[in-house]
Symmetry: D2
Subunit: 353 residues, 4 copies
């Protein structure tokens, strides 16, 4: 029996529940129409996307396409350190909490050093002070030497580093010889929120390598690893190949990026998701007993629901992420989340409270 | 400037130059039409494919979807041995020659022990004698202990193991406590060539794990790892996740398999490719100076061209694989190779001789 | 210019500042007198030590000799889990804080999950509740699956798990299918403190693998990895060899253990070190302004010194370990620490206060 | 029951059957007499040996002490390449045949590319042509990129590279950007055979890193890793620590080197072993039916014995290494091999023929 093809109810568990956006679907299928195409990225589609990326970032960056975020982050980090080095991240960083030890595996043992982060409007963000404290904590060879700082943009708590905040962290890192990696699974949402130039938020602010997320922005599969310093990407193509991240029919991974980059669809998708989060936030404000933890900066809303509410919503088939330590919920909006889905969800919450 | 969308000339460098077949494209796009779908494989599409696989193999096998063949083979092998064990393969095995050390990387150092193989009609095949000789070669702890035999079906030289040949090798392996892995990047072509039941060629013949190739058979991206012994796949889902091989939007990896499995499209695709190789072989027979190394059993034709011929063909834009040690060429046919492409290529070869 | 050969002042930085005890030196040199001896452990000395270990533990345990504690712990842990598994330890565990990522390296990426521990008399000890909380914290494949609990005996904070406490932890671990490893760098000091049978503190209490420390107890180099369950040590000899931990002239690593095990020298050495710690503790009690954090159970004294004291002692050439977060110091006593060294140090502290 | 302490009959299986030489034993025990000494190499003994090494090599080299040859070679190679690189070695290289995949493990998957070597007087030696052929064999990312050449001095077949031969190989390597490692498990025997300056045979001939063997030359345990280019040893101390190769009581590993280096005992030991091999070779020449494969250049004699002879010698308790593929035997002489042992063995062989 084959799965049903009617469209499912829109959910809020993650922005990776959404499918691919029409623009990426268009190019995916167009790439297929080319018949025989050179394999492993030696094709025109891939070259076009790389060129478009360079234009986007106003830089001669070196771009690689891999299959998912765990691989993008892990390979990028592994290229910046050795097994006896360490990587500084926040305590909620995806690389620490949700990649099943991927960074440790790809680097053959690099340790993640976890910094606590503040609550409030800067929740989930590293601070230069915390970064420096971890760098200086140990100087002996019995502890892995810090070599990389990784920050997630937008953060896992839905906040957005300003350009100045990114710069402050990269300054702290570079003062001690560390490299800086940005986990940009939702980089598009951050750029949309800040309204800045992507270059200003990355290499001009001291970021060495960006993992530019495509999947959550509307691709079917795939992330880009963007090296702004080509010395750091020496032989990275071999690393990608060995790690099982080189697509033979690469056009199907790269071409859909044309749909995102052409006409700034990536920004439009992100802006829409951000707006939907804002809409949900506003709806929640009107429901007694529901307490939003902070105003959404990007496409995530964090709120606390009265006891039993989450349970009732789940029973009605709603899907979202609930934190173990009670009450707090995360609602993610995607590029395709419709206003009426927001409204229907808000009504359901109000009824369940 | 965007890549051209007219269809390119069909080529013979590899069967991964072809795009996706209409049936897999159909399901790929259908899966997209479902809107929001649970991530990481917890969806109906993926469950349907797994169920279809179990029916295909008449077995309660455990099925995982990963992004490419390097990952499929490397993860499967890593699950069968430890870093201080070794893996027996043929000297032309893809895991040895074309995965950039992927198996060694994923297993954290397992050594590949390479067996020479015969020429002639069994070219590229392991023999029970060669396998046993490698198993018995060393018994001391200064050399990695053999733990797995891997065989490629169809082989890298285009030959096809018979069911009896597979059984002979698995018997040799199991007599010494080794496990057996089948690299089935072109498993479909082998089944099509033999006209046998997939179960007879795998678990009934002693194969523990099959990497079932989808990409070369008509998928855009993705291979299946099929464990016939569920004890061997314990925690394999964690392994896949950590290794960056778990797709968040899994439906795009799994649903296209429905296109292959429904109505035995996978077999039809393979039979067609095999037939095209046979057609090319027959055309080459008629060209003086061209010597086919053996009659094709599946979708690869190996032939020796007169000096200078390959060079001239390349200059005319033909793409194929040429062996370093002179003269020998490999021509691969794909699920979409057209008879007229074969004929045009044969005409070009005849003219270039 | 060659180093001086007069005996240095005794210090308190670590029990690994001491040399080898006369008994182990005796056997070391005796082993040398045998002339040609089979390599890699296939010798009588090594067999004798293994047999003595089996008698000591009243068990048919499988014993391996490696060069140091990092290797012993890392190899033992790696043999109990895969890269996508995790290891539960205390936040002060040596494997977490002082092995430069060794466990992560040898296991190819296993994550250490760190449990906070209590202050007070059980400082530094895991509790069954904390262990179970970590086991249950996450059940999804995005986080490494807990597979091992490791406890350090004596703990890094100088406390000693009772037999009942060990049992409570192994019960919690085994209720969830986890294995238990004991880092016994100072196992001798614990047995001396408890006055129990070594078997009661290990396998009879549910410990699967013990790293039995020899270096701090009076050996020049070397630790023993003791598997109480031989199923867990399958092919461990290969693991040791591959990891560069197999001594060719093994007798020099194994024979000195005869000096420790014969006539219970290991216990006498440990009892002496423990007694010296008690003596130091009593001396410190008499110094106004110095506050011992707890009565020593084994050979470590933890105390808080008035501001500036530590600095003055260092200037006088005294060596000990000072915690970053101010004031707290660790004083370790060794198998060879002399009462007059204790007294001299106490006098120096009193003067420096 | 304790092992016997009478001296065993001298054997010829390996030069690691011998114990430690008196000079290294002297310093080993002298180091013990110092009482408390700083741990982890921060001691005068270690500093003295490093200084002596620098004088020996007339270079400001960076020196590390590790426990055995597998670790020395594997760590050195890992420091020169990444997992997706490859290491060129001879087909008889110890790293390929007798380290149980250690190099692959420590480098997380680097592949060894094996060059066939000639027979005759250059048996076991790499040639510049073979090295270059492997470098040029593949240039695509599907195969690990060659990054290091490793040569063994003396070779595993007992031959000795001349200074010119080393230079020819390092020239070939460096012309293509590769680094050069020398496995010097028997470096002393090579220097003794050539009568050259150690600097001429290493860095002046283009060697980047030397693993200087101590164990076979008369130490109880330990090898030195000597970096002639300090850029290559950046953070190597961390690598050693993480890999479980940092001795806490380092003086016991380093001090015995003083015994070797003082008064050129290392050379005297090697010369003696070489002379004993020459003596054995001459004795074998006189035995009908015994055919020495080549005149010994260092401390190994390779000879072919008539059928059944090896078996009879073994039954009489003689120990030596016999090649699987019939007849060929290896007889190793050590720093302590006595002339009368040679003569007795020759008599036994003559009787067994």
């Amino acid at each position: 029996m084959m799965p049903r093809v009617t469209e499912n109810r829109q959910q809020f568990a993650s922005d990776n529940l959404a499918g691919m956006c029409p623009e990426s679907a268009y190019w995916f299928n167009l790439a297929n129409a080319s018949g025989h195409v050179p394999a492993y990225g030696d094709d025109e589609w891939t070259e076009s996307v790389c060129q478009a990326m360079r234009e986007l970032f106003h830089a001669d960056c070196d771009v690689y396409f891999v299959f998912n975020g765990t691989a993008a982050n892990s390979l990028a980090l592994a290229s910046l350190c050795q097994s006896y080095h360490s990587v500084i991240c926040s305590h909620v960083a995806h690389v620490e909490t949700d990649e099943c030890g991927g960074p440790e595996f790809f680097s053959n043992g690099s340790k993640l050093l976890v910094a606590e982060t503040a609550d409030g409007e800067d929740a989930g963000k590293l601070t230069p002070e915390a970064v420096e404290a971890l760098i200086l904590k140990r100087k002996d060879i019995h502890y892995p030497k810090p070599k990389v700082v990784t920050l997630t943009q937008t953060t896992e708590l839905g906040t957005v580093y300003t350009v100045e905040q990114v710069r402050a962290i990269t300054d702290a890192a570079k003062a001690h010889g560390l490299r800086v990696h940005m986990d940009g699974a939702r980089f598009a949402n951050a750029v949309a929120a800040l309204g800045c130039d992507p270059a200003d938020l990355t290499w001009r602010a001291g970021v060495d390598v960006l993992c530019f997320g495509g999947t959550k922005n509307g691709l079917p599969v795939g992330e880009a690893v963007v090296f702004f310093d080509r010395k750091l990407s020496e032989d990275f193509a071999y690393r990608v190949k060995q790690a099982g991240q080189l697509a033979s029919k690469m056009r199907f991974i790269s071409a859909p990026w044309l749909g995102l980059l052409e006409d700034d669809t990536w920004l439009a998708n992100a802006r829409h998701a951000n707006a939907m989060a804002r809409r949900l936030y506003e709806r929640l404000q009107a429901i007694p007993g529901v307490e939003a933890l902070r105003a959404p900066e990007a496409n995530a809303v964090f709120a606390s629901l009265p006891p039993g509410t989450a349970q009732r919503l789940r029973e009605q088939g709603w899907s979202f992420y609930e934190f173990i330590a009670g009450g707090g919920c995360r609602f993610m909006c995607a590029w395709d989340t419709r206003p009426e889905s927001i409204d229907a969800f808000a009504v359901a919450i109000a009824a369940a409270v």
